[in-house]
């Protein structure tokens, strides 16, 4: 017996045309203890864009993404998703918004107890009245889209890392979301697979007029897919916006912090190790 789908009141739904602001973040601050992980972040994402958030490890990329999908309440600031402030929403209202976007987790977050097919079918079964035979067909289509035709009956544990990421992508796109959020979709993949996943992200969004918000620190991938880039800083510029612009503007931006990151150099303003006198002081104490 199939469980009846739970109805979530959809209410009036504004359709966003290409170029309209679909996501707007204003003065976002996230504090953990005495650490200011996100510091006054503001940016806009327009419908149809592939917006990439990049930055070094620990710069708050994932925290920002968690705030954007409503998995975490920011300390202050506002996030307008589809024109509504999600930071002031209760979980039930948030569910209405959640049906309009898809999230592709860094490691796929596939349900280990379900087959690949069941994983992709779950959002459809839960949120639509679609006939089971049609769901089966949609699952096949989504798997074909990510190049995994015939894998419906495999368990996630039988797949490689790259395959799991692709299944995660297929599941995120099961309900044809208006925005696809993607957390480091290419980290840990070989160059060919990276290119494949990048192409899939573009196929799943740009071709159908959807928006993509991708968190990444893979420069090749970032410049391949982005229409606009937001760079977050770490170290002394922890959680601040270092730069924002098109890939061309980012390449030309003279900011040494940004250039060090884009070129992947060990030496530069991004602090990894202490300065010599600071190190001596740290080792010997102030005396």
């Amino acid at each position: 017996m199939r469980e009846a789908p739970r109805k979530i009141a959809s209410g009036p739904k504004k359709i966003f045309k290409a170029g309209e602001v679909i996501l707007e973040v204003r003065d976002l601050v996230q504090v953990f203890g005495d650490r200011r992980v996100l510091d006054n972040i503001s940016f806009q994402v327009r419908a149809g864009e592939t917006f990439v958030i990049m930055g070094g490890s620990g710069c708050g990329k994932t925290t920002l993404l968690r705030c954007l999908i409503g998995a975490q309440k920011p300390t202050s600031g506002s996030i307008h998703l589809f024109g509504e402030d999600i930071t002031r929403m209760d979980p039930f209202e948030m569910d209405r918004i959640r049906l309009r976007f898809g999230m592709n987790f860094q490691f796929g977050a596939l349900f280990q107890s379900m087959t690949v097919g069941e994983n992709i079918a779950l959002p459809l079964r839960q949120h639509s009245d679609v006939d089971p035979s049609l769901i089966e067909m949609i699952v096949k289509m989504k798997l074909e889209l990510v190049g995994l035709t015939g894998f419906e009956n495999f368990m996630p544990s039988e797949l490689s890392g790259g395959m799991r990421k692709r299944v995660g992508l297929a599941r995120a796109m099961a309900l044809d979301p208006e925005i696809l959020f993607s957390d480091e979709p290419t980290s840990g993949l070989d160059p060919v697979m990276t290119a494949v996943v990048d192409q899939l992200t573009l196929d799943g969004t740009r071709k159908i007029g959807a928006t993509a918000v991708v968190v990444s620190h893979d420069m090749t991938s970032v410049f391949r897919i982005a229409t606009r880039i937001l760079m977050l800083g770490n170290g002394p510029r922890q959680g601040q916006v270092v730069a924002e612009g098109t890939p061309e503007e980012i390449r030309k931006n003279p900011d040494p912090f940004l250039q060090q990151f884009v070129r992947g150099e060990a030496d530069g303003p991004i602090p990894l190790r202490m300065a010599q006198d600071e190190y001596l002081k740290h080792l010997l104490g102030d005396g």
């Binding site: 999908i69 998995a71 779950l122």
Partner: protein, 203 residues
């Protein structure tokens, strides 16, 4: 596993009772003692403790692993309530199955007592069955079943709470699993004491 434990408990009760009651020439009361102790107390308690070890820990570990793998987060992001899809079915399953398993355990325990009484104490089967079945009142059975429902509630609530509250990777899953077993057993025994007091002293 549950039947083996229940059978052993039946053996133990009958054997222990025979050593003491035998001195008083009261072996005839052994079936009464076995059936009353099983129905009211040992059946629900021991079956619940086995279920804690077998199912409570499994639920905590499974939900904990799902939490660590971001599967719980993924459900929430898909606007699917983890409580509705993961907790409620497990809760209902245990609330129904633990009392059924308890009744089964009671029967096996009574069979264990029968084996000792008939095998070593020269009792006839009809004597054992008549006493073991006639002596307890329906309330003795019901009080045990009410206990098992309360235990089921405690086991599954603690297991789900611990599992969904996991932080810190695989190590956290191990910690939550241990905690779910320890707290479940602790609360089951405390609840048992409270319910026994309520059923047989207050009411």
């Amino acid at each position: 596993m549950a039947s083996l434990v229940a059978l052993s408990v039946g053996f133990i009760l009958a054997m222990q009772a025979s050593t003491e009651l035998g001195k008083l020439g009261a072996n005839a009361f052994i079936p009464d003692l076995v059936s009353l102790s099983l129905l009211r107390e040992l059946g629900p308690l021991l079956i619940a403790i086995i279920v804690v070890g077998r199912s409570g820990s499994a639920v905590a570990a499974e939900l904990g692993t799902m939490k660590v793998n971001e599967e719980i987060e993924a459900l929430k992001v898909m606007a699917i309530s983890p409580t509705r899809i993961l907790v409620v079915p497990r809760y209902l399953a245990l609330m129904i199955m633990l009392p059924i398993l308890t009744v089964f355990g009671n029967c096996v325990g009574l069979a264990g007592g029968w084996a000792v009484c008939v095998g070593t104490l020269d009792m006839t089967s009809s004597f054992y069955i008549t006493h073991a079945v006639q002596r307890p009142e329906l309330w003795d059975l019901y009080s045990g079943l009410i206990k098992s429902v309360v235990f089921a509630h405690l086991i599954i609530t603690i297991a789900c709470y611990q599992g969904l509250g996991v932080t810190g990777g695989a190590e956290g899953v191990g910690r939550a699993t241990t905690a779910s077993v320890v707290y479940s057993i602790l609360w089951i025994i405390i609840a048992d004491a409270a319910l026994t007091g309520l059923f047989f002293f207050v009411l």
